[in-house]
């Protein structure tokens, strides 16, 4: 699905990712954990092509295609989806209008026929229900005045509408209470299938009780320093990251 080789990236001329390798096969869920400042959020932003994140080396291929030279919207149309840690508000632009423009663009790339307004509205309502958001949220401005949990559910709804092949969840659990976390996790689990992969970036092991990963990686100081199965997460929760970081130079961000 996605193959990341020796990826190096910097922000404001400071090296954050220092040679990251990661292979994710179709249908797999990989969790990425690590201490603050390890470069966890940077990974998602670099893969999605955010401005200000400069790739200084390495490659990333999605479904066999090098994505690092593509514009962010092109990557999105290629099936990469980033669920933001802090989704921005866009007042004045209705959620529905935004979702339609997004789905239209992605479907066009995939050679699927455009949905007419009626079909789309029906679909959007369905997904709204699936993530437990009131339909009035479709009419409101994008994320405008949404609570933290509502914003995350709105992200999830977009994921469902766009049906991406690679989903990157960037600390989706931060700031969520247990109930909200469960709704999001259920949504994600429902999306899991043999052709879709996930990168779940999190700071807390708790999320992984709900979204059970196939692999867990520890990102520290810009590199994957340890990989293992889901039990690694429990070990991290208990021991912290200190035992893994010894011998590395400090201050990744």
């Amino acid at each position: 699905m996605i193959e990341i080789k020796d990826l190096k990236a910097s922000v404001e001329e400071k090296d954050i990712l220092k040679g990251l390798n990661l292979n994710i096969g179709p249908g797999e869920v990989h969790a990425i954990m690590g201490p603050n400042g390890a470069g966890k959020s940077t990974l998602g932003n670099v893969l999605a092509g955010r401005e200000g994140y400069e790739v200084t080396g390495g490659s990333a291929t999605l479904n066999g295609k090098d994505i690092l030279d593509l514009d962010p919207e092109e990557r999105a149309r290629e099936g990469l989806f980033l669920a933001f840690q802090y989704p921005v508000e866009i007042p004045g632009v209705s959620n529905l209008e935004f979702l339609k423009a997004s789905v239209d663009a992605v479907r066009e790339q995939q050679g699927k026929p455009a949905l007419d307004s009626v079909q789309f509205l029906k679909l959007a309502r369905e997904k709204c229900k699936a993530v437990n958001l009131d339909q009035s949220f479709l009419k409101r401005g994008v994320n405008e005045g949404f609570s933290g949990g509502e914003k995350k559910r709105n992200e999830l709804m977009q994921m469902m509408l766009l049906e991406p092949s690679l989903c990157i969840l960037d600390e989706t659990d931060s700031g969520l209470d247990i109930d909200a976390l469960q709704v999001v996790a259920e949504g994600v689990n429902a999306m899991r299938d043999a052709n879709r992969s996930f990168i779940v970036v999190t700071h807390y092991q708790r999320l992984l009780d709900y979204i059970v990963p196939d692999y867990v990686h520890v990102l520290a100081n810009g590199r994957i320093v340890k990989s293992g199965g889901k039990e690694l997460a429990l070990e991290l929760e208990e021991k912290g990251y200190g035992w893994l970081e010894n011998g590395n130079d400090n201050g990744a961000e």
Binding site: A48, G49, R50, E51, D71, P72, E73, R75, A76, R77, F81, L82, F84, P87, V88, I90, P91, G92, V93, S94, E97, F98, A101, S102, A105, V106, Q109, G141, V142, Q158, L162
Partner: protein, 481 residues
Amino acid sequence: MATNAEIESQIKAREYKAGFVTNIESETLPPGLDEDVVRFISAKKGEPEWLTEWRLKAYREWLTMTEPDWAHIGYPKIDYQDISYYSAPKSMDDKPKSLDEVDPELLAVYDKLGIPLHEQMALAGVAVDAVFDSVSVATTFRDKLEEAGVIFMPISEAVHEYPELIKKYMGSVVPQRDNYFAALNSAVFSDGSFVYIPKGVRCPMELSTYFRINEAMTGQFERTLIVADEGSYVSYLEGCTAPMRDENQLHAAVVELVALDGAEIKYSTVQNWYPGDENGKGGIYNFVTKRAVAHTNAKVSWTQVETGSAVTWKYPSCVLKGDNSIGEFYSVALTNNYQQADTGTKMIHMGKNTKSTIISKGISAGKSQNAYRGLVRMGPMAEGARNFTQCDSLLLGDKCGAHTFPYIESKHPSAVVEHEATTSTVSDDQLFLCQQRGIDTEKAVSMIVNGFCKEVFKELPMEFAVEAGKLLEISLEGSVG
């Protein structure tokens, strides 16, 4: 993803689609202004003595006045002796009796602008008065309107056919010496539209005037007068374009609206005069006085979409004279490149329980300056009067300016005035979110800008809301994507 530089270069790529020149043989006065010129214009239109005197009085007032300098705009001094004050297509010398007699070249101009004047091709439900330089060339659907008792004709004809109405109302809202540009207009006004809606009549169609400046070195000084008699309703729209020329041209119009008891006037403007090129060369200087008087229970609503002109100086206002009268002002003003706009409104609350709403959306891009200037005045008798003002600015790029100058004056303890202003930009975060969802920068900006203007667009008549949206898109083509 798009950088600011990219955005700016895209903004620059904007194209002015109404910028063509038409070769039509015209009779044009040589540049210059004195009493003889005023008399010439009056004579050319065969005006009665009282109107010639009215013009001369205005001219003499104008001579004693000085050009206002308080607005947040800068432009080289206008040489009023360097402007031609009258220009008309020769083919209009003998007044055509019907559309069939109008010079096909002229009709072609309006076709090209998307305003077909042949009734069978015209937009359904919209009557158009087309003003070309100093004269009205055609007015459509006149017969149909006459059936309803609605008068819609060039003001130059109304002077002859309805002298009593003109005498009574012209200058009653904007007196000759109201301001420098209004005084100039009163002296030399060329043509414009006159509308009268009789008591209790709901005008059966949208009325529209389309202004076109064609001739070089000419100023355009039209005058519009709309009188809505008791309990009547009319919706009126004006549109404006001009060719691309390197020199600046002056447009100084006066619009007067009279809404008698219980009447309602909805006045919409899509102003797309030539804004000058990307280096700020050329473009129209747009100095316009628009004012309405609302009598008891009357309602006046101004909606404007201002995208053109090198300089805009314009404050469509409402004098809320009668009790319970309502004034509204909805505005989108977009400036790009070196355009400058100083625009807003005045709401003068005189009567009891008068209400006003002001929604102003300013969008600045390029190196332009965009200012909102508004006055809300609650007079000593304005018991229970209410105003709400929302004034938002959107800045696209770091070389432009957005300014807000609201004046609030209140003399009544029960009057309530609320003013809010905000400023924002299209943030990198917003653009990135859109891109991450597969929406390109250009589309994203267009969505955000349209969202920003939504409250105003919904006030426009349907066909024109679409036009306004498109106009904005062209004006920002590729811009802050």
